[in-house]
Symmetry: C2
């Protein structure tokens, strides 16, 4: 339709569409059409659509519109969206955009850009509804009716004193049901019931608070307790998903990355992976040396070598299961480092049962395999393997619950103590147990 210049039909269609969907359509279009469609948007929704565009599309649009259009666009955007956008584009575009904004907006944006990446300040917005405590509900509603268009969230209004200090909050619901003439100060939530965060609080902490108290928004105060902004729950949902993705990545020993997989180059992907692969590969030197030292006996007793991978894998899997549970529990706050002894005791009991069941199953498995393939492995070797299995599982479960909690205690990220890391450590430990038990059997002439 663009080619046929049916602009008014397009305009009508766009008016019926959700801004998120419009943004997707624009991002999926050819570069030369993106700006055309963007210019056909109704004035009042172009800023919102812009915030949902892919960063590359945002650049294309910015590069093709006039300075006046840039000015209007940025002034219409919520500050936090403008900051998100500016953080993604090259410096020359940032300079051009900031040159077109009013001094006031520019100052606010610059202040936001200075907050650390993971702080509450970096995801807050300043377009909130704030009133002095001595304002009446009627005055507040009147004011909201005039200014609601420019606020990101008016579901909760915040009350401040003469020094802009945050002293309470009133939900819009409470505001509209309140009797005419009531002062905000008389109906606001305050004291312990008022939840707020500080600009430099970690955004993960903020997400935890919003989730715990089922908030739609949380006020952000500076070190003096003055209200500087709010964080809305839609941004929190994104934070939660990003933090989860980061945990998934760390647990697979990847360097966390915020880029989409499909848009990340091969070299970047390699860089995110190679560090830990190298470290773990070099750590495997230990397992190699342990086997090297036992080489002669391995060659002498049939069946010992063939069971190495099974023992190592089972140990690794058992350790991985518990470390995942503990890492997740620590992240969600359901397990605290002080629970360590409780956790360890539970794991030892689980390990005894798991290890025993696995041993019995394994014994049967080995008998069947010998029967089917006619292998020459003797029954005492089976006992060595099964006994090692129980101890390996116990050790794996103990290491798997200890390392994440230890990491938490020394302020490392517990997520690093997941599967691959546990496997590498458990591998060496299971081999030592295995060869230790085999050594005892050999020295007593049992195998």
């Amino acid at each position: 339709m663009l080619d046929e210049n049916k602009f008014s039909t397009i305009k009508d269609i766009l008016r019926e569409m959700n801004t998120v969907d419009i943004a997707r359509v624009i991002s999926d279009s050819a570069a030369e059409q993106q700006v055309k469609i963007f210019r056909l948007l109704p004035k009042d929704s172009s800023a919102e659509v812009f915030t949902y565009l892919e960063p590359e599309t945002q650049q294309t649009v910015i590069n093709s519109i006039t300075n006046t259009e840039i000015h209007n666009l940025v002034e219409d955007m919520f500050i936090d969206d403008a900051v998100d956008f500016l953080e993604e584009v090259p410096a020359n575009i940032v300079t051009r955009v900031l040159a077109q904004t009013s001094k006031e907006t520019r100052d606010t944006i610059n202040k936001f850009l200075s907050y650390p990446d993971d702080s509450a300040g970096s995801i807050m917005t300043v377009e909130m509804a704030a009133f002095h405590v001595s304002v009446t509900v009627d005055e507040a509603i009147e004011e909201l009716r005039r200014t609601a268009q420019d606020k990101e969230s008016i579901e909760t209004c915040y009350c401040i004193d003469d020094f802009r200090k945050l002293v309470g909050s009133v939900s819009l619901r409470k505001l509209i049901v309140a009797k005419s003439g009531t002062l905000l100060g008389d109906i606001m939530l305050n004291d312990d019931r008022l939840i707020s965060v500080k600009t430099y609080d970690d955004r993960e902490t903020v997400a935890e608070i919003v989730r715990k108290y089922d908030l739609l928004s949380v006020p952000v105060v500076d070190t003096e307790g003055r209200l500087v902004g709010i964080i809305t729950i839609d941004d929190i949902v994104d934070v939660i998903q990003e933090e989860n993705t980061e945990d998934f990545e760390k647990m697979a020993l990847l360097l966390p990355s915020e880029d989409d997989y499909l848009k990340t180059g091969v070299l970047k992907l390699t860089k995110n992976r190679i560090v830990w692969l190298l470290i773990l590969m070099i750590s495997a030197t230990f397992t190699g040396q342990i086997i090297e030292g036992f080489q002669d006996k391995l060659a002498a007793v049939s069946g010992l070598t063939a069971c190495i991978p099974m023992l190592m894998d089972t140990g690794g899997n058992a350790g991985n299961q518990v470390s995942t549970l503990i890492i997740r529990g620590l992240a969600l706050g359901t397990i605290k480092p002080s629970d360590y002894l409780k956790v360890l005791w539970k794991e030892i009991r689980v390990a005894v049962i798991c290890g025993s069941v696995l041993s019995v199953a394994n014994f049967i498995r080995m008998i069947i395999i010998r029967f089917v393939t006619g292998g020459s492995t003797t029954t005492p070797v089976f006992f060595v393997v099964c006994l090692s299995m129980i101890f390996a599982v116990m050790l794996a479960k103990s290491i798997g619950c200890t390392l994440p909690i230890l990491a938490k205690l020394v302020h490392l990220d517990p997520a690093l103590m997941a599967g691959p890391m546990i496997t590498t450590i458990v591998d060496a430990a299971s081999l030592l147990i295995y060869f230790g038990i085999a050594g005892i059997f050999i020295s007593h002439g049992l195998i």
Copy 2:
């Protein structure tokens, strides 16, 4: 203070506290004190505090209060909270509670209890603000002022036609800024801009929609398009965290469990873990047989056995990294099965670089180890190991990106194709490559 009967002081303290915090205090108290504190709560907050109590505490409270108190409590609770509570307690308590509720509430609760566990219907609430399209904004605001107290969310009001069909939505913000006398039908969002879900939609799908469109609530309609409830974002946040936890558990090959780790018994924990441990242990039969078949050559050539764990671990880690990225991408919708060829081609290139770097590093490592320990492994064996490494990494990356996508295509959960599963498959494959290459070198008399 309870022991000293300072009830009015406690009441004052409770009045200043956030309901979530009160619930924590009660849950942490001794059983005989829980009911005492609960009864001191202000009338208007006891239902809300109750919804935040631990299930065991809820039972204790229910068992100790009168039938009239139960009646008032349940009628004051939002339906979705009452349903959550009833799903957690034994059948005899459910019967007693339902006997105390009004017929209308009981019917609604029963209807909710019949929705499948993971459906939109099971997490929705019926306490929403809904108006006929022909209502004016003034009438709507008037109605809200009277009834807002009983609604779970009034941030968005929904418009219905004569047949209760959902036809549009109006945000509270739009409502209060609208000119007096305007009809809801004239300012509502409709057509493509109105997002809704169906009662039987998967709650994960609902979470995805809420996240994508930055909604505070989403309307739920039945198969005929009639409005039956809404889902609010605070419940969505919980769904997102639960779904993430489930993915973490599946990726560690645990049976997903909704119980807190610390509260789960040893037998239950064992049950959640043993199934996959057994399956994977038995699968390791293949690796064992592969080694068994190569046993003589392993014994003859020094150094071959010692490198098995390193090769297997590196392959497993390499596969684990990519499968985690793909599983997460599939879950968040950033990767689609149709992207498979793009993904595979990317992974092959990453694997060539990763594999080469690892090989070179490994070669140097082995030279150093031989120099330090005076081992007898010959340099051609190093070449066998390093060559196998490149191929093993390539294979691991290919398997790691293929299996999750394949699982998605056949409607299995991609999360099952994570680390442990990949490791087991990659182990066998790397050994075949390793022994294949070693076999060629041996048959040419090179090692």
